[in-house]
């Protein structure tokens, strides 16, 4: 018998749950403006989520998955993306998309049940939200392959939940990323629940990070409620990938403080104790306290940010509600670039049906 391979998984945290600094802070924490911008994005995300949940209750959105409690994962990831990089989202990562140029109005439109929300005016190459779990992991490898083939110094980030890591697609993606040494970073938003299925029921492995070992590259854990850890590690992984260093997997440990979506009732399965404990560790307050303790952040600055974000979100909601409704026949508009003759009859039928005021 001999040992032929050894592996380990590291965990990174800079701010503990009481906002105490527990490790040497990275360079970027000297840039107050940048820190405030991260904070603002987290606040924007939270306010957006709250508004969206309310709008869904009023019948203005069809369903909505809040990212409550996971804002640090989202904003830290989004901030690591350069404009020319590509993001392959899942459905709970509004904070990443906002940082990458997608607007609150667009996401409202999307969740109102309208394809036009995915037309992303500011992130032209990002993938649309992937509802089929973990499929986006593979698209990310494809985009990264295109960068590699064209020798472009660009990087792809993709995210899924810890539940999504049970899908074959996730694994096929990390395996390919390893084999081809692709410039792609896999973020796992480990929020402890896949709808009602707990992290423990999902997989026996001690960490989600170690799944990368099966693909031959490094996986690490970060405290997903610590925006400094998330941003630091994701941006390092991104720059490493940009420099030809290949893929990396980052498991961000956090907690889903909301229902799975507005269609769910987490009180059926989520123990109240866990939730209370998780509220103590949530990222927005943690970061705010750090800013107060180490960067002279004050209440009036905070109020100004919250006010600004609320206004932005409210305006986006109004814009969405005023957005002109699509024609019925628009369902054919982007099916193919060259409209097939075979579909003309149906297309005209649809137009006629709606002219007649048919239901």
């Amino acid at each position: 018998m001999k040992k032929v391979a050894e592996f380990f998984v590291e965990y990174f945290q800079f701010l503990d749950k009481d906002s105490k600094v527990v490790d040497d802070l990275p360079e970027f924490t000297n840039d107050r403006g940048f820190l405030i911008s991260l904070y603002r994005s987290m606040v924007l995300t939270r306010i957006f989520d709250e508004k969206a949940v309310r709008m869904q209750r009023m019948g203005q959105l069809s369903t909505f998955p809040s990212s409550l409690g996971q804002e640090a994962v989202m904003v830290g990831t989004g901030a690591a993306l350069k404009k020319e990089d590509v993001y392959c989202p899942y459905y709970r990562d509004q904070g990443v998309l906002f940082r990458h140029g997608v607007t609150p109005k667009e996401l409202f439109i999307y969740w109102s049940g309208d394809e036009r929300g995915s037309a992303f005016s500011g992130a032209r190459e990002d993938f649309p939200i992937a509802v089929p779990i973990a499929t986006q992991s593979l698209h990310a490898t494809g985009v990264a392959s295109a960068f590699k083939i064209r020798k472009q110094p660009r990087v792809v980030i993709t995210m899924c939940g810890e539940g999504g890591t049970s899908e074959g697609d996730f694994y096929e993606a990390i395996n390919l990323a390893g084999a081809w040494n692709l410039p792609v970073v896999f973020i796992v938003n480990n929020n402890q629940w896949a709808i009602s299925v707990s992290r423990e029921a999902q997989t026996k492995c001690e960490t989600i990070a170690q799944k990368a070992i099966s693909a031959g590259f490094k996986g690490i854990q970060v405290d997903g409620n610590d925006i400094i850890a998330v941003y630091d590690k994701v941006s390092q992984a991104v720059e490493n990938a940009r420099n030809g260093g290949g893929p990396q997997l980052i498991e961000a440990i956090t907690y889903r403080l909301s229902d799975h979506t507005t269609a769910d009732d987490a009180s059926r399965y989520c123990p109240k104790d866990n939730l209370d404990k998780a509220w103590d560790e949530e990222p927005v307050e943690r970061f705010k306290k750090y800013l107060e303790d180490y960067h002279d952040f004050n209440e009036s600055e905070d109020l100004a940010i919250k006010d600004e974000c609320s206004k932005e979100v409210d305006q986006a909601a109004i814009d969405m509600l005023n957005f002109e409704k699509p024609n019925a026949e628009s369902m054919f508009d982007h099916l193919y670039e060259n409209f097939p003759e075979a579909l003309l009859v149906q297309y005209e039928e649809l137009i006629a049906m709606n002219k007649e005021g048919g239901k």
């Binding site: 069809s62 074959g168 697609d169 009602s196 149906q346």
Partner: protein, 323 residues
């Protein structure tokens, strides 16, 4: 007499059969602790315990493949796919294994399982949650595809599906999970598979439908009745194997046929029914067979789904066109 919804009728059938047959187990994403995202499997965990009601990790190919392995041992899994739009990763196991295990082993092993999936539009769900792709499965040899249209049929057909010694894909029209109620006595009485039901007799036209479209067809028949047009409404119920006999007999009488489905038109199940009529019922027909279907587009997001889905108006209009 207690009136129950289709959702309740399915749960009632599961409870009945799990009580009768210790080999029946339930598995899928969120089916145990949460009772299913549509609450179809609610309380089963409490009633039958975690050995027989199993939350799986999040992986559909796994759900299918694992269920097939269980079935080969005579365990009878009723495995849920959370929505039909997420069944595709399991496609390989359904076509290459579930449908072939008996054939490939010349009857040595078999695959007595049920794959359940809510399907169809009409509940303003996000993308991929409103699919109707039953036609993809009706082309696959070795399986059956069953779609109930009422609480009572859901109860009787699900019992039949679980008892059937071969794999059955059981598609549940989620738009009518809770839309209306029926008296469904819990007698354990199965309904026959491979058989259409004549839901309403009539003499002028045959309307063929299934799932949520059945109610629209019945509604259309009412509208037409008011104008003195007598429609016969057939609920296909088992999409594979198709009971063409009942449909052809009806057309012999009525001479006219309108087929309705939510799925995209091209190569939908309506195509097979129309083709069979063209081959075996041609001389009964007084007019072309018409299909009222979803369009050949991606199922649109909720904002346009009403424009996509057939309804009683479109059906009755089509009937007037063929008459």
């Amino acid at each position: 007499m207690t009136m129950i919804t289709m959702a309740e009728a399915i749960n009632q059938a599961l409870v009945y059969e799990m009580t009768q047959d210790q080999d029946v187990v339930v598995m899928g994403e969120d089916v145990a602790g949460n009772g299913g995202v549509f609450r179809i499997t609610v309380d089963l965990l409490e009633k039958f315990g975690p050995d027989r009601v199993m939350d799986t990790p999040l992986a559909e190919s796994m759900i299918a493949g694992c269920a097939i392995g269980m079935a080969s041992q005579g365990v009878k899994p009723v495995a849920e796919f959370q929505f039909m739009g997420f069944i595709y990763p399991a496609f390989d196991h359904i076509i290459n294994h579930a449908g072939r295990l008996r054939n490939r082993t010349r009857g040595r092993l078999s695959c007595p399982l049920v794959f359940r999936a809510p399907y169809g539009g009409g509940i303003h769900a996000p993308e991929h949650h409103s699919e109707s792709t039953e036609a993809l499965f009706s082309h696959i040899p070795g399986i059956r595809v069953v779609i109930p249209s009422t609480p009572a049929r859901a109860y009787g057909l699900l019992l039949a599906a679980i008892r059937d010694p071969d794999p059955v894909l059981f598609l549940e029209p989620k738009a009518i999970y809770r839309k209306f109620k029926q008296n469904v006595p819990d007698t354990g009485q199965a309904l026959p598979l491979d058989k259409c039901f004549i839901s309403k007799t009539g003499s002028d036209v045959t309307i063929v439908a299934w799932g949520a479209m059945h109610a629209e067809a019945m509604h259309a028949a009412d509208i037409l009745e008011a104008d003195g047009i007598s429609a016969e409404v057939i609920d296909v119920a088992t999409i594979k194997q198709l009971d063409m006999k009942t449909i052809l007999t009806s057309i012999e009488k009525t001479g006219h046929c309108v087929i309705v489905h939510e799925a995209a038109r091209t190569n939908g199940v309506g195509a097979e029914i129309a083709a069979e009529i063209a081959e075996h019922g041609l001389f009964s027909l007084h007019a072309p067979v018409k299909r009222v279907t979803g369009f050949d587009t991606v199922m649109p997001y909720p904002i346009l789904e009403k424009k996509y889905l057939p309804n009683a108006d479109r059906i009755s209009k089509a009937v007037r066109e063929v008459l």
